[in-house]
Assembly symmetry: C2
Amino acid sequence: MTQIPPIAKASIDAIRMLALDAVEQAKSGHPGMPMGMAPAAYVLWTEFLKHNPKDPHWPARDRFVLSAGHGSMLLYALLHLTGYDLSLEELKRFRQWGSKTPGHPEYGHTPGVEVTTGPLGQGISTAVGMAIAERKLVAEFGEIAEHYTYVIASDGDLMEGVSAEASSLAGHLRLGKLIVLYDDNEISIDGSTALAFTEDRLKRYEAYGWHVVPGVHGEDLEAIRAALREAQADPRPSLISVRSIIGFGSPLAGHHKAHSDAMGPEKVAATRQALGWPYAPFEIPEEVYAHYRQAIARGQQAQAEWQRKFEAFAKSHPEKAAEFQRRLGRALPLGWESHLPRFSAGEKLATRAASGKVLEKLVPVLPELMGGSADLTPSNNTRTPDMTDFGPENPGGRYIRYGVREHAMGAAMNGIALSGALRPYGGTFLVFSDYMRPAIRMAALMGTPTVFVFTHDSIAVGEDGPTHQPIEHLMSLRAIPNLWVVRPADANETAAAWKLALARTDGPTALILTRQALPVLAGVRLEGVERGGYILSEVPNPQAAIVATGSEVALALEAQQLLAEEGVAVRVVSLPCWEAFEAQPEDYRQAILPKSLPTLALEAGTTLGWERYAHKAVGLDRFGASAPYADVYSKLGFTKERVAAEVKSLLGV
Amino acid sequence: MTQIPPIAKASIDAIRMLALDAVEQAKSGHPGMPMGMAPAAYVLWTEFLKHNPKDPHWPARDRFVLSAGHGSMLLYALLHLTGYDLSLEELKRFRQWGSKTPGHPEYGHTPGVEVTTGPLGQGISTAVGMAIAERKLVAEFGEIAEHYTYVIASDGDLMEGVSAEASSLAGHLRLGKLIVLYDDNEISIDGSTALAFTEDRLKRYEAYGWHVVPGVHGEDLEAIRAALREAQADPRPSLISVRSIIGFGSPLAGHHKAHSDAMGPEKVAATRQALGWPYAPFEIPEEVYAHYRQAIARGQQAQAEWQRKFEAFAKSHPEKAAEFQRRLGRALPLGWESHLPRFSAGEKLATRAASGKVLEKLVPVLPELMGGSADLTPSNNTRTPDMTDFGPENPGGRYIRYGVREHAMGAAMNGIALSGALRPYGGTFLVFSDYMRPAIRMAALMGTPTVFVFTHDSIAVGEDGPTHQPIEHLMSLRAIPNLWVVRPADANETAAAWKLALARTDGPTALILTRQALPVLAGVRLEGVERGGYILSEVPNPQAAIVATGSEVALALEAQQLLAEEGVAVRVVSLPCWEAFEAQPEDYRQAILPKSLPTLALEAGTTLGWERYAHKAVGLDRFGASAPYADVYSKLGFTKERVAAEVKSLLGV
């Protein structure tokens, strides 16, 4: 192991002490990982990472993902030291209300943070999506879109199933520009990894088809450098095992107690002593700043070079260059909505089929759309005839075969969306939204405009039975802040739902679609869908309302008819998107669903939550059953007679 | 490859044709897997599986888990043919309303079905729990508890992250009696596994520390036999790669179209022809029945031998034998509740800490308790001083280090519970309940009495910020049918919550516990908790009620006090468990929360759903923020002043 030059040692120790002192000041946080991984991060950020601290949005920057998000002080220290808009004051306010330095890195909150991390496994899996996006955009726009995606991942990241799924996918797709520094410190919260994690991690990654660099000493800068060079050169994704020591330099070095919490003044002082760091807390010597902030000049130069390339590209390919800029701005092409298909009353088709037809029209006009499915392509209707499969031999392909890996799909979609220039959608059955729920939450938290295509949306799945019949899923998704859930009632509402989803730029949308065919309804209004809810069928002087979503809207209309025959006048309201409806002014909402009008909710899912809009609910607070769908549907109470009876009971007639 | 004896061929083809004909009759289902794996299943069930069709509950039976649950006809055919109480009529009613042959196997519904499967990855991961339980029970009770756990798993099972987590854990724990037949047919729904699943699966399992048998020809009975023998002899868990052909014998053999759906009369006829099967649909030749039903005599003999062993054991260890029988009956020892600790008003402790103290008392008196955590032991307070870690060197250990593998933990807990003789509990942060949600749903669907210990239950997590602060989780869990969610308000309610959870034998319970310290409250009533909700603090002639859960109950009491000073009389209701409350008679519920009493809900989570009990809700319909918990809590509106103001606004005063 070669000697570490003094400036490198000081620069590395600056990270360590900033992490230790910030945690000490906050009286909470995770000093261990930043202290252990400081040398690897130092080499990466000063010698490899192509970035411009003065323009964190430069499209060709390398991406850095701190998958082990609890080590956020590592990232904040690097951002501050290399000259991002993150002041020392902010570091002092680590984990305080309103600071730019929250406990875990938050995308959109702190300049230079590429992705929100903390829930283990998400960062590395999102990075797989970032690397997919890079390959795709290079295929479209050439070298102006090129970049590496670097990740620091922990034992915890590698234990989580989502990273296993995503890493298998990354190997399959040969994402050579994805480079993971694995903090192989053999410590997790409970103690040594010997307690629970004794598998051969490197062999596992080899099995995924990755390039693996074993046993890189965590303090050996030259070895880290060599490993990164090797990784850059290899056409496969790379995993570099960095044998670091958690809490390096502190009295808790190598112990799981170094993972989290303030160490206390004595241990902090002992660390200062051990590292030979004579400076006060948050004091950084000028030469360390000067050393790190070479990143600015280097970054500006790199970006200027890129800018020249971009301008040459714009000259030779003006349309493509304009397209690249349009896409990065997330502006959809003018008039794209005019391509949405209209369906005629009288037709009968499942909303998943309608969704497929919508995609057939949109895929040609929205090149940013990148589709996929978790091995349910024929069921989700997510692949259009224009699409080819994305892969190493076809990086321009627009369809991703995610395999039976819902969770990796969700995380990868987040990464694809973070490119700015691609709009991912991905399909699975609604019941399996549970498998990807942590990634859906990350989308909502980051505000990535991903579109989830969840088909087979109720007990009307039929024969596959209760394991495949969602009950609680609709309401559980509605409970996630900033996720919009749209359950269209027919084919035209499905077209409007896609419009609603793609018009969103600040968060994800879940489309909830049927397996079974539904009639195309008279009275559907696209702007009604966009407002979240509307009167689909009005009657003079309604005595009651039925508010329904999706497949139950047609049933509501049947019940309305039956009730009309009995002299009961009932309004039918379609409420495909609660979130959009709740964003409407009070008077609009009151006009649709007046509090005074006796209202029955009708949805083939849990009744919990429907008290918000209705006085009574027909739904399902039990699991479903296996039988042909018409049988399950009627046996579990979804008949016009039952609905009519419930309305009458509500009216006391 | 040696010749297949005629009776074996007929017996194998009987499975194939039953599967094909049943799917044809149902006009839905999955014939491909049963047809491909029939030979392997035949060898396993006729030569290896220790079972007694006449007593599917025999405790020492080998367990068989069809992880690829979509191939349910394979299992139904075997159960019928070997003589379980599953008639030919039921096979003819495959996937029909009320039949014993639902689309996917359902535990508790069909005799001989050990576990509900269908959602991919769950079966194999649950089997890991079954194998854990076996090792643990053998350590306690000796050879009377011994059995193998056999699994048939598909490509989809191996792609799912949960199986990756569980398989890594199984390798770590050296669960040598776990044997997986991997249906390595290179086909998934979208097409060839070349589309998405090109990793080296066998190498990956080697990396997990498994014994792997490569390349067993799917039609080579002798090779299957040899592989199973080898697997039985090996001290590691085994994965046998069975190179089967999906839809074997049919014109769609080897094609992904063989995976699902009825093939149509022509292809069914062609299959009859190809297999040389002259019989009508659902006609099984007598010699095939006779061959399979040797299982009955063999099983009865094996069980009789076991019974003799058990009686000898009962003679030499009467207490242990009685304990074994008590445990299998899921009866808790008489008077166990008397060990629950009581906490005194004036103390202040987090409910997670109270839960730890409850466990310290219960672990010694309830030997069926088997604890664990997903690498958050110090935070979840799940490990008591009496517990040692379960592992190959210590199979009697009662604590499982699951690693950062929430999903595998959930699935394994299901398998442990299915043993009947163990009551598993496992901890993680509430926000990470999302990672294990599919397994929680399986617990609810199967009715396994698992206990989830979800700590760090609100924004009061504090500095870790929004990635670690649950918002939607409480309500999302309440939405799952048959899951009981209990959020105790203080230490004594926590003791009652554990009582409620352990008294349940027909489904899972989630305990929702705080990170932060809470005062021990006056007025807590254990039977109130058991009834789900009760008046914690009454006032004469209440003008309003505040209904709260968990940490917000103490805040409600503060607001009550403040309002009293202003002359507003407010009742405080603690509602720790909605499900238990909803099971109470109407008059009880009305006495606690009369519809006519203006009621404010108070819970640091989504307001969605609270309309069920309250006219207005103070909650959170946004993500949290990183800051010390008292700051986050008050900045986001959880102050007595705000609550009091909301009550007054509700009253219009």
